[in-house]
């Protein structure tokens, strides 16, 4: 049963991102689903583990963390990123929030506007000519954009 398993995690680890941290009470998290929560907990545990392993060596910690993050990103879909970001934000888990926001940023870096719209699930709601005006105003930044 997933929820009980999550509760188990609360009992076991000294989690510094959960504000209450009580060991036996159930912590209701109405805004977080169990799937992103599980990923976040794994992320947190991994982070603490890597930190403990490389207590003196900050560079090693960063390197290992980066490797783990790369692996994690391969398994996460863009839509899941939204849930993860919301969960990390609600739980006040800064490192995970920064990480997932960075992941979204690198996914859209230097991509065409059409790609970014698709990625975000957006449609342009500008009036006629408004987009053109913006493109002209910031013309220098619109030169030389990669296509997908």
């Amino acid at each position: 049963m997933k929820f009980c398993a999550v509760k188990q995690y609360f009992d076991d680890e000294n989690n510094n991102n959960i504000t209450s941290g009580a060991s036996t009470t159930m912590i209701p998290l109405p805004n977080v689903e169990s799937h992103p929560l599980a990923i976040l907990i794994t992320y947190c545990k991994k982070h603490l583990k890597i930190k403990a392993n490389n207590a003196d060596n900050k560079k090693e910690t960063e390197k290992e963390m980066e490797q783990y993050e790369q692996e994690l990103l391969k398994k996460v879909m863009p839509q899941e990123l939204t849930e993860l970001i919301l969960a990390a934000n609600y739980l006040n888990f800064k490192e995970a929030l920064d990480f997932f926001c960075r992941a979204v940023a690198s996914a859209i870096q230097n991509k065409s506007i059409e790609f970014v719209r698709k990625f975000f699930g957006l449609e342009s709601d500008f009036e006629l000519g408004e987009e053109e005006k913006l493109r002209e105003e910031f013309a220098w930044s619109f030169e030389g954009v990669d296509e997908d």
Partner: protein, 498 residues
């Protein structure tokens, strides 16, 4: 509302779809503004501003980004670039612009650039990087920059006269880097250094000092000082890309004998010099110094005697150093004034000396003097730099006077980029013989050199030879590495000969 039920995922999704039929899909666009802005803060300035055309909601989301970075590149889209920077700064919301980097051609647009600087100062900028080139008119940077209370890091790189206002107070500035700047006069230059009360790091890179006679650097919290005077050097061997009509004669230093730069290094821990000693640097009160690196290039026949005196002066003011690195060039310069050897200070705290060639120990009087004057030296290392053989082929050197530290203190000798040639082997032999308390000699091969000259077989031969050299210290180990980041030779299956 989403509640964590212990249902399996598929059931949960169906349940959710039924419940939230009217709710829009969980798209990233549904994240609240602050989170989207957080995402934008990780994008480059160009990309962040491009998001303004995604949809109405995104039109002004970018206006809170805390970092702005503008790099003009070539001159071909000048008007578009100027308009872009103008609009971005005008539309930015009142929140702080923490980092601002501008790399651009100046031409006749000094007033625009100054207005941009004022704008970011108003936005409480903390890190400001300015790389300015191609001036067609004189630039006097806006006075508001020099009284900016929020500024912590300033990099100013421009081959142009530094015209300064009368009032300079960088109350928060910790790191200052000046590149290729032409100091205008004594007074304003002095005001600049005095206007940085909590400065910790100062880098003066290839600047032009010819209009300054004397200046004093005495920031009480200055910990790291880096000076590079390679301007004339790059003139000789390279192109100065920043030269323009306004500075055509900046390198005309014919009557210039150098600026007197006095440094009170009360908190100074690290000093590094690289270039030609066109100025006369003098250190006072610098007993907290830990790390010094002096890489001097020999100038010409006329100046080398004076330069030698200048190097001695440097060493004298920094005699409390713990780790000293001197290049071959520095040693060559020192050798021009042998009569000063007797006046080399005692380096009471020197524990580590870093040199560039093993032969300097035998052929260079200055090195021998430094060693004689370093009673506590326990680590001697050689970052070998390849030199064409300058001395006669006779490698029968001896250490006539073995430095006292060799007999009492020297524990480690490290040689990198080792090629195993005759002179190096001879030097290793002498080290092993004379260093009576040596614990380790570490030899790291120049593996590239060995690739085409015998490879592993040759390296093994050399190792065997070294193991047979008589040792002054009974407990000395020989750590022989096949290359940088490579294994030690003893890690190979190898008959042990001690």
């Amino acid at each position: 509302m989403d509640v964590s039920f212990p249902l399996d995922k598929a059931k949960k999704q169906k349940f959710r779809k039924k419940q939230n039929a009217n709710k829009s899909r969980k798209e990233i666009d549904n994240l609240p503004d602050p989170i989207l802005q957080h995402i934008l803060s990780y994008l480059s300035t160009k990309n962040a501003i491009q998001t303004s055309i995604l949809s109405k909601r995104w039109k002004y989301l970018w206006t809170s980004i805390p970092k702005l970075d503008f790099d003009e590149g070539a001159l071909d889209r000048r008007l578009m670039f100027m308009k872009f920077v103008e609009r971005v700064l005008a539309l930015h919301d009142p929140s702080n612009i923490k980092n601002f980097s501008l790399s651009c051609n100046v031409q006749y647009d000094t007033s625009h650039i100054n207005s941009w600087i004022c704008s970011v100062v108003k936005h409480k900028v903390q890190v400001l990087n300015l790389y300015l080139r191609n001036f067609q008119e004189l630039l006097a940077l806006s006075p508001c920059l020099f009284t900016c209370e929020s500024l912590e890091v300033l990099t100013l790189h421009m081959f142009h006269s530094l015209k300064l206002p009368s009032s300079i107070c960088f109350s928060s500035l910790k790191i200052l880097t000046l590149g290729k700047v032409i100091f205008s006069d004594d007074h304003s230059t002095q005001q600049l250094f005095m206007g940085c009360p909590i400065l910790e790091n100062l880098s003066i890179v290839d600047c032009i000092w010819k209009n300054v006679k004397t200046v004093c650097i005495s920031s009480p919290m200055l910990q790291r000082l880096f000076i590079s005077d390679r301007y004339l050097f790059t003139e000789k061997y390279g192109e100065n890309d920043d030269k323009d009509d306004l500075n055509a004669d900046a390198d005309d230093q014919n009557d210039f004998n150098g600026c007197q730069v006095v440094i009170f290094g009360t908190s100074l821990k690290s000093f590094s010099f690289d270039g030609e000693l066109i100025n006369d640097y003098c250190f006072y009160n610098s007993s907290s110094i830990v790390d010094v690196s002096i890489q001097v290039f020999e100038r010409n026949e006329v100046d080398c005697y004076q330069d030698a005196h200048r190097v001695y002066k440097l060493l004298s003011g920094l005699s409390s150093v713990e780790k000293l690195t001197v290049s071959n060039g520095t040693l060559e310069v020192l050798n021009h004034a042998e009569e000063l050897f007797a006046h080399v200070p005692v380096f009471y705290k020197l524990t580590r000396l870093s040199l560039e060639s093993v032969e300097s120990l035998f052929t260079c009087g200055a090195v021998q003097t430094i060693l004689q004057n370093s009673p506590c030296l326990d680590f001697l290392d050689f970052q070998m730099v390849f030199c064409l053989p300058r001395y006669d082929k006779n490698y029968d050197w001896v250490l006539d006077k073995v430095p006292k530290c060799f007999v009492t203190r020297l524990k480690t000798i490290e040689i990198s980029e080792f090629r195993g040639d005759e002179k190096e082997m001879h030097a290793v032999k002498i080290f092993l013989e004379s260093a009576s308390v040596l614990e380790r000699i570490v030899i790291v091969c120049d593996d590239y050199h060995f690739k085409s000259r015998g490879g592993l077989k040759k390296q093994k031969e050399i190792y065997k030879q070294i193991l047979l050299f008589p040792r002054g210290s009974m407990s000395c180990a020989v750590d022989f590495f096949l290359g940088f980041n490579q294994i030690q030779i003893t890690a190979l299956k190898f008959p042990n000969c001690s």
